[in-house]
């Protein structure tokens, strides 16, 4: 779907300082070489299967299906991956690629800490140095993940500039990359940033929809009617959608974080409230003011608390191939609790946004319809903040 210079319709591109241009060109060349290389793919598949625990389960949520009284619901269990989320898929791919390129150091941004933990894990496994940039606000919201990254041997750099959240962590990781390029790979965590990142990350995450397709065909003998995933930058969503894009009967639904509501300023629902812009290396949708200043965004979920969205999602939205809905904090927290009680699965608060949409939509679909929800991560990391949201203070 992407053409030269990584355009998805008008979106994508390479809006970065000249200093980084040769680095992304070198990355694109290396990726184009290795993506078709049987030895590289064999090595990556081995890591996926023997280290990360792939393929992840496609679980039929029988109780939830019965309770909601509509479509048959399957959960794609990315929460069962090693490190607890889908982030490991992309990280293993990029870390292996970086290693082949002769890089010895990985840097990455992280919001909730899931991508940081995954990157620190891959760095430990592949003997690479690792520095993680994380907004200072997020280091407080996700203290446990900060400890995990340090335990894995990474250096965690709290970012104090701007709103001290995910967007500032991305800015700081980009600044660090311009300082030190020769030995360093920027392991970007979502389908965003300059080309070739949106394509590389999508390809590594597309294992999710590849498996969903095989699994659902084997148990149901047909394609699902809807695939639902949460969208921040949009990596688990594009991974869940990708192999269904040409199957027009499959509805693709991305769930953005509405925060306190899309009619408030405390939201991170980029496609629902933003407009076209250029930031962090790409043209896409962004939350911004009338002069193009990037807006401070808000969501209870540190992983969805980002003012932009990947360029391929912007394109899928514009051409009407995927739908993007907004889910509030309150709806997500309800879904977090609902899935825990109903199926005994504690989802990440990010993934709970997708579960929340299913809770509203399943009953509108008949019982012979099939809906797949990607549970992008597990929710252990969120327990303290959800308890706080409900007015209960617990010690982590």
């Amino acid at each position: 779907m992407s053409n030269r210079n990584g355009r998805f319709g008008p979106y994508g591109g390479q809006y970065i300082p000249e200093t980084l241009m040769n680095a992304v060109i070198e990355l694109e060349r290396a990726y184009n070489h290795y993506k078709g290389d049987p030895a590289f793919n064999e090595e990556l598949t081995k890591l996926f299967n023997e280290y990360a625990g792939r393929p992840s389960l496609l679980y039929y949520a029988k109780k939830m299906t019965k309770d909601l009284g509509g479509a048959k619901i399957y959960l794609k269990r990315e929460d069962l991956n090693h490190t607890g989320s889908h982030k490991i898929n992309n990280v293993l791919g990029q870390a292996l690629l970086a290693k082949k390129m002769g890089k010895t150091r990985l840097i990455a941004e992280t919001g909730a800490g899931q991508h940081g933990v995954a990157t620190a894990t891959a760095a430990a496994l592949l003997n690479m140095e690792c520095v993680i940039f994380m907004g200072e606000e997020d280091t407080k919201r996700q203290a446990l993940n900060v400890y995990r990254m340090k335990l894995l041997g990474a250096e965690v750099h709290p970012v104090k500039t701007g709103t001290a959240t995910l967007k500032d962590a991305v800015s700081e990781a980009m600044r660090e990359w311009t300082k030190r390029i020769a030995d360093t790979h920027y392991c970007l965590g979502s389908v965003m940033g300059p080309h070739p990142f949106p394509t590389i990350v999508r390809d590594f995450q597309s294992v999710i929809s590849k498996e969903i397709k095989q699994q659902i065909l084997s148990v149901e003998g047909r394609l699902p009617d809807a695939v639902v995933a949460c969208v921040g930058g949009g990596s688990n969503a594009i991974g869940s959608f990708y192999n269904f894009i040409n199957d027009s009967s499959v509805r693709l639904i991305g769930c953005e974080a509405a925060g306190r509501g899309i009619d408030t300023f405390e939201t991170a629902a980029t496609i629902n409230t933003g407009r076209s812009g250029i930031f962090h290396g790409m043209k896409s949708y962004f939350c911004q003011d009338s002069y193009g200043q990037i807006a401070p965004v808000y969501s209870i979920s540190a992983g969805l608390d980002y003012p932009g969205v990947g360029p391929e999602h912007a394109y899928l939205h514009d051409i009407g191939r995927a739908e993007y809905v907004a889910i509030t904090d309150e709806e997500a927290v309800n879904a977090f609790e609902y899935l825990s009680r109903t199926e005994g699965i504690i989802p990440a608060i990010e993934s709970a946004h997708a579960v929340a949409y299913a809770m509203k939509e399943a009953k509108n679909m008949s019982k012979d319809k099939i809906m797949v929800i990607t549970v992008s991560g597990r929710g252990d990391k969120d327990c303290a903040s959800i308890a706080r949201y409900r007015g209960e203070d617990i010690n982590e």
């Binding site: 390479q14 000249e18 311009t178 300082k179 076209s276 002069y291």
Partner: protein, 256 residues
């Protein structure tokens, strides 16, 4: 109408960067007059951006202070058009792609022409994405300034060939900000540029002392200073303009 290239008619050029509205536009105006009266050959008017990814901590700070003070793209254009009556050296705007894109490139460049702003510097628009903006700039007689970095290697030639106004040679890796030493082989980069264009080149990033300026000016046609000037604004606030005048004089004297 001034031209960016006029800045290089007075020997080696001294180019001063100032973030508009830090701490307020009145101070910015006086600072620019002081810089112009003391030998600056071109002023880079910084339009602040919420997330300036190519800047180090000093200029980031100026961006945040200016936005907190309430400046907007429109207020800066109004300011520049009034300032034009007092200052005659060429102006260039330095900002980020989204500020121009959001305003509408066409409308942005039209306002540049109205305010006699003859150059535009967008550090997040490399050669590959240049056409989108340059096609509009050309229509309004604004030079879109090309940047060349220490990592550009084989790209130098193609960038130089399509450059106009001047070429911004980035002295070192990393973001803007003062540096003790500049180790890049500027001379060989400039040599390649000279083989491909007659457009002048100015070196920026990391230059703060007269010695550094002299050294860089020997290898190129001019020097660009930002963070060292912003630091004076950070330190002296509304009293900074006279200090900026003294500083610019010392720097221009060093490269004459």
């Amino acid at each position: 109408m001034s031209k960016v290239s006029d800045a290089f008619k007075n020997g080696k050029a001294f180019i001063a960067f100032i973030t508009c509205g830090d701490p307020d536009l009145e101070t910015t105006g006086r600072a620019i007059e002081e810089a112009a009266n003391n030998g600056a050959d071109l002023i880079e008017l910084g339009i602040p951006f919420s997330d300036p990814t190519a800047e180090g901590p000093v200029i980031q700070g100026a961006n945040y202070r200016a936005l907190a003070g309430g400046v907007t793209t429109d207020k800066i254009f109004d300011f520049a058009s009034k300032l034009r009556k007092k200052v005659s050296i060429p102006f260039a705007v330095m900002t980020y792609a989204n500020v121009v894109y959001s305003y509408g490139a066409e409308r942005f460049c039209e306002r540049c022409r109205e305010c006699d702003i003859s150059g535009l510097i967008l550090p997040d628009v490399p050669f590959e994405e240049k056409d989108e903006f340059d096609s509009v700039c050309k229509k309004f007689g604004v030079d879109l300034i090309s940047l060349i970095a220490p990592t550009s290697s084989q790209r130098v030639e193609v960038i130089a060939k399509s450059a106009s106004g001047f070429i911004y040679v980035v002295s070192s890796l990393g973001v803007t900000g003062e540096r003790k030493e500049i180790n890049t082989d500027i001379r060989s980069i400039v040599d390649i540029i000279r083989k491909n264009t007659s457009v002048p080149c100015a070196v920026g990033f990391g230059i703060s002392t007269p010695e550094q300026a002299k050294n860089m000016a020997e290898k190129a046609d001019g020097v660009i200073v930002g963070s060292a000037i912003i630091r004076l604004l950070e330190k002296y606030g509304r009293k900074a303009p006279s200090y900026i005048g003294e500083y610019v004089k010392a720097m221009k004297d060093a490269i004459r």
